[in-house]
């Protein structure tokens, strides 16, 4: 069981976070149909919404690069998609990200960040520290949301430039936003 999820359950008297709902609404607005993901606790609320949605297909992956290739195929077939992953998965995608330039298809990925803001696990830090640089070297524009109130604006900008302008875009959802994973009390 994921510690962050347990923490969320302990706090279940509090209402669910609003920002995953903002993301879901924008994905619906843009008629996103295929949602490949490697699970992350920070994406769990959004993944639940996707799996319960009749117009979206949540597609679990064995590794994140599969999602980049899947979205290229989806676009070839006329559908938009979005890839959900955590920062440690970004490195797994590097060669496959070349498809965004080769095929010039609308690529959008939402990345929950680890390795920053009070991280407990040192193994998350190297990839978390290089996530933005890896994207930028791979030709992907990077936007970041740190406060719950800015997620909607950042997502609207990201979805618009990805789907309207075919500008490959990653949204980094800060660890400060999703909450630091708790390993020890």
């Amino acid at each position: 069981m994921h510690a962050r999820a347990e923490t969320a359950q302990e706090n279940s008297r509090e209402p669910k976070a609003a920002w995953p709902e903002d993301i879901f609404s924008i994905l619906q607005y843009y008629d996103v149909r295929q949602v490949p993901y490697v699970p992350d606790a920070g994406h769990s609320q959004l993944i639940q919404r996707v799996l319960g949605c009749s117009t979206m297909r949540g597609i679990p992956l064995t590794t994140e690069e599969e999602g980049v290739a899947l979205l290229a195929g989806a676009w070839a077939g006329g559908q938009r998609g979005v890839l959900l992953m955590q920062s440690s998965g970004v490195g797994n995608c590097i060669n496959m990200l070349s498809l965004t330039q080769i095929f010039r298809f609308p690529f959008l990925t939402l990345v929950t960040m680890r390795g920053e803001w009070g991280e407990f696990n040192p193994w998350q830090v190297p990839m978390g520290s290089s996530t933005q640089g890896v994207f930028e070297l791979s030709g992907i524009r990077v936007l970041r949301a740190t406060e719950p109130g800015e997620v909607k604006d950042v997502m609207e900008a990201a979805a618009s430039q990805a789907y309207n302008a075919c500008t490959p875009t990653a949204v980094l959802l800060s660890q400060r936003l999703i909450g630091t994973k708790v390993f020890v009390k």
Binding site: Q34, I59, L61, T63, G73, A76, G77, L99, I102, F103
Partner: protein
């Protein structure tokens, strides 16, 4: 090096696609792309010149977006080995219109013929079956390729997987178009999708 009684890869692909109708074909990088080009250019051909390990996932995205159309992936053993996890992803989604044909020469032909894992260890048919694709088989004759070509037209009974051991001879390259944006937009146009 050629072995007796193994099929010629060009003949396999041209037989598979002899009556392809509206099928969309994704070819993995390297010789599979040359085989698809040799079988005849088509707006519904998606040739890959890179993105090794991605052919099955590109086919899956297409198959989910176009459930009424047959989608077939033709790729080599090396490319399939690199994307083996994608067989589990297909096994979970079970797209009924998806077919995968691996041209298995047990070697990395494009880079000098170094042996691949299928030469003595890895059984891709077993992998596909264990990943949730029950209709997975090894085939060895042109008759079976013809039957596979007919089966792939049935968009209600997939996914299906076949591995065919082929002659490892390196054939002359038949170069397809390699402008990805052109290939992508040509396929989209053939399916009725406008540019952005």
């Amino acid at each position: 090096m050629s072995k007796a009684n193994l099929l010629d890869r060009r003949q396999v692909v041209s037989t598979l696609l002899a009556d392809r109708k509206d099928a969309i074909v994704v070819a993995g990088l390297g010789a599979s792309t040359y085989d698809l080009a040799a079988a005849g250019d088509d707006a519904r051909n998606l040739y890959l010149w890179g993105a090794m390990g991605g052919a099955v996932m590109i086919g899956l995205g297409l198959a989910l977006a176009q459930p009424e159309l047959p989608v077939v992936i033709v790729t080599g053993d090396g490319e399939m080995l690199m994307g083996m996890g994608s067989l589990a992803t297909v096994g979970l989604q079970k797209p009924k219109n998806l077919s995968i044909l691996v041209l298995d020469n047990e070697a990395y032909g494009e880079t000098g013929g170094q042996m691949s894992h299928t030469s003595s260890a890895a059984d891709l048919v077993g992998v596909a079956r264990a990943c949730g694709i029950p209709d997975s088989k090894a085939i060895s004759t042109l008759g079976e390729i013809e039957a596979f070509g007919k089966a792939m037209q049935d968009v209600t009974s997939g996914p299906r997987f076949a591995n065919v051991k082929i002659d490892a001879a390196n054939l002359d390259r038949v170069l397809s178009n390699r402008d990805g944006t052109y290939i992508m937009n040509r396929l989209r146009a053939a399916l009725g999708h406008a540019p952005i």
